[in-house]
Symmetry: C2
Subunit: 345 residues, 2 copies
C-alpha cells in the first residue's frame, strides 16, 4: 500500500523571469516529499492542469490583477485533481476537485487556504475532466462573463472572436450563437477555421494566417462588428476597430500576440474608431465573477448535454513537458483548449 | 438704409485637403451676393464662430461621424448670429440665434434646413454670446454629456481632464468639482495651470510642457484615476492609462495631439491597463445628445449665474484671420475657448 510518506512530489518552479518567449531556462524541476494535511487541510493529487495565455503575464514582474509568481515558487496553474488525504469535512478521499494546484504532482492545501485556492468538488456528470478545464472552467467562465456582462449581446448582432479555436474563443462563439448572434471567428490555419465553422457552427471563420483580415471582415461582417471579443491584440485588434459599428463593445480579454514582445506593446492605432462609432473597449478579469460561476456552469452544462455546445481539448502528457507545452499557445500550435495531463487517476 | 441686395457675403472655403498642419493654401476666400430667404427660410448675419479641434477632422477625406467638408465648400462652423431677414414665423428679425453658420459673414438657411442647421434662438440672459459658444454651446454639451453619461462621476472620485484650459476641459473640470469629485487638470504652461487651479477651482493642474506627467499624476491622483476625459491622445493618454484605478472610465472625446500627424495615429500602448483594472474606454459624439441639450444648458446656466462655473474665451477678430486663428488650437496658443469674432452686431 502506498502511504503518503512514500510519495515524491515533482514540481516545476519559476527559475528566472523570461525575456521574450520563455524557454526551458526559465524553469527548474524540484522534488519534495509529500506531507499529510493538518487540521482543515486537503492533499490533492494533480490529474490535469490548464495551460493558459495568462500564465505568461504571471511570469512578469510588476503590478497586474494578481501578483506575479515569485522566483523559486511553484508555477501557478489551475487544475483538476483527486483528494488523496483530507482533514476537512467538506472533502473526502476520492473526490474529484478543481483548484489552483500549481505545476506539481501533489498540492497540499492548508485549511485557511481552501477558499483562496478556489477548491471545489466537480461533478463529472456535468462535463468531463478536461471540459472542467475548458468550457466549465476558467476559460469558459471568462468567455461567459466577458460576452454576457461586458458584451451584452442582442439577437441579430454580429460577434467577432479572435483565438476562435482556443478555450475562451470556442466558448464565446458557441454561446453567442445560442444567444442568437451572427458569429465570425478569427483563427490561424484552415483546419481550425473549418472546425470552428463545421463542428461549432460559427457562421464564418477568418484565417488570419492567410492574410487580409480587414477585407475578410468586410465580407463576413458587412453591417459592421457589434461585439469583438479580443484574445490577441496587435494588428487584428486594429483590423476589427476599422470595422466596428455604432455602439460596438470590445471586450479586452487578452493580447497573446504581444505577450512575448521584447518591445513595447503595440497600441491600437485605430482606437479613435471608438469615438467615431461611440463604441467601448473594456477589460475583463474572470475572478470578479466568482460568486456567479455556479450559475454559468449550470447553464453551460445544459448546453453540453443538449449538444448545443461542444468542446475540444489539446492534451499534452507529462509534467516534464510543461515548458514546451506552454509554448504551443504562443505559436498557435495548440488546437483546442491546451491541457497538461499529469496523472491517469 | 442697407438692403439685402447691397450686402456682400465674404466666405472661407476649403480649397484643398491638408497634409499635416493646415496652412493658408488650404483655404480660398470668396465673395457672393446675399440673397433674400424664400418661404420658411432665414438669413443670419454671423457675429461669432466657434473654432474647434474637430474642424481638423472635418477637413479629411473618409468616413467619420459626419461627412467631410467638400473641396470648394464653405468651411463648416457653428456660430452665433443675428436674424436679418426671416420668412419663418419662429424667427424674427433681430433674434440672436445659434446655428451651423459656416465660416462666412451671412448664412442663408432654407426652410427645410432649419432643423439640420440646428438653428435655435439663444437667451442672452442665460449667458453671453461667447459663453453660448463655450460652456452653453457645443464644447459645453460635449463636456457635460461625456462626463455625466459616459464618465458617470461619483462624489469623491478622482477626475483627470486634459486640455484643461480649453473649452471642453474647463466645463468638464468645473462640473466634476460641482459633482463632488477631486479634479486634476492637464494643460500646457504655467499660466493655464495657475488659472485652472486659482480661477476655476481645480484641485491641481499638471503642466505637460514641464515634463513627467506620469510622476505628477502619481502625486496628484495618489489613489488612481477614476475618470479620465481625454481631449489630446498620444503620450498623455498612455501616462494616464498607467495610473487608472479599478473600474476606471476613459472618455475619448478627441486626440488633438494626433490630428496633424502625417504618420499613423499613436495607439495607446498601455491599453492593457484596461484589462488589469477592469476599466473602460469609450467614445462620445455630442450630436447624440441633441434632444437633451436644453436640460444641460439650463443646469449650466444656473452654475454660471451662481458663480460656481466660470468661463474664458480667447477671441480673435476678423473672418480673414480664420486660417491662422485655427492653428492656435494645435499649438496650444489659445487660452480658453477659441472664438472668431466676425461682426460687432
Amino acid at each position: 500500500m502506498t502511504t503518503i510518506a512514500n510519495l515524491a512530489n515533482h514540481q516545476v518552479r519559476l527559475a528566472q523571469r523570461p525575456v521574450g518567449t520563455p524557454g526551458r531556462e526559465c524553469w527548474s524541476f524540484t522534488t519534495e516529499p509529500v506531507a499529510e494535511p493538518a487540521e482543515g487541510g486537503v492533499l490533492v493529487k494533480t490529474l490535469a492542469l490548464s495551460l493558459d495565455p495568462a500564465m505568461r503575464g504571471w511570469m512578469n514582474e510588476g503590478k497586474s490583477y494578481i501578483p506575479p509568481v515569485g522566483i523559486g515558487e511553484v508555477m501557478r496553474a489551475g487544475g483538476i485533481g483527486r483528494v488523496v488525504a483530507s482533514k476537512n469535512p467538506q472533502f473526502a478521499v476520492g473526490d474529484t476537485v478543481s483548484a489552483g494546484l500549481g505545476v506539481q504532482e501533489y498540492c497540499l492545501i492548508a485549511g485557511d487556504q481552501v477558499k483562496r485556492a478556489g477548491l471545489f468538488k466537480i461533478d463529472l456528470r456535468a462535463g468531463s475532466m478536461t471540459q472542467w478545464l475548458n468550457v466549465l472552467g476558467m476559460p469558459g467562465m471568462t468567455g461567459y462573463f466577458g460576452l454576457m456582462d461586458v458584451g451584452m449581446p442582442k439577437p441579430g448582432e454580429t460577434v467577432v472572436v479572435s483565438g476562435a479555436a482556443g478555450a475562451v474563443g470556442q466558448t464565446v462563439g458557441q454561446l453567442a450563437r445560442i444567444k442568437g448572434c451572427r458569429v465570425v471567428g478569427i483563427a490561424g490555419g484552415r483546419a481550425k477555421c473549418d472546425w470552428v465553422v463545421n463542428e461549432l457552427g460559427f457562421d464564418a471563420c477568418i484565417d488570419y494566417k492567410a492574410g487580409n483580415v480587414k477585407a475578410a471582415l468586410k465580407e463576413h461582417a458587412p453591417k459592421g462588428v457589434d461585439i469583438y471579443f479580443d484574445n490577441v491584440g496587435g494588428e487584428i485588434l486594429d483590423d476589427v476597430l476599422a470595422r466596428i459599428g455604432r455602439g460596438a463593445r470590445i471586450i479586452i480579454c487578452g493580447a497573446i500576440s504581444q505577450y512575448n514582445n521584447t518591445t513595447p506593446v503595440q497600441g491600437p492605432k485605430n482606437y479613435l474608431s471608438l469615438l467615431v462609432n461611440r463604441a467601448r473597449m473594456e477589460g475583463i478579469v474572470v475572478f470578479d465573477y466568482a460568486d456567479r460561476y455556479h450559475l454559468a456552469v449550470a447553464e453551460m452544462a445544459g448546453y453540453l448535454k443538449d449538444g448545443r455546445m461542444k468542446s475540444k481539448e489539446d492534451i499534452v502528457e507529462g509534467l516534464d513537458n510543461f515548458p514546451e507545452a506552454l509554448l504551443k499557445l504562443f505559436s498557435g500550435a495548440n488546437f483546442g483548449k491546451l491541457v497538461l495531463k499529469v496523472a491517469d487517476a
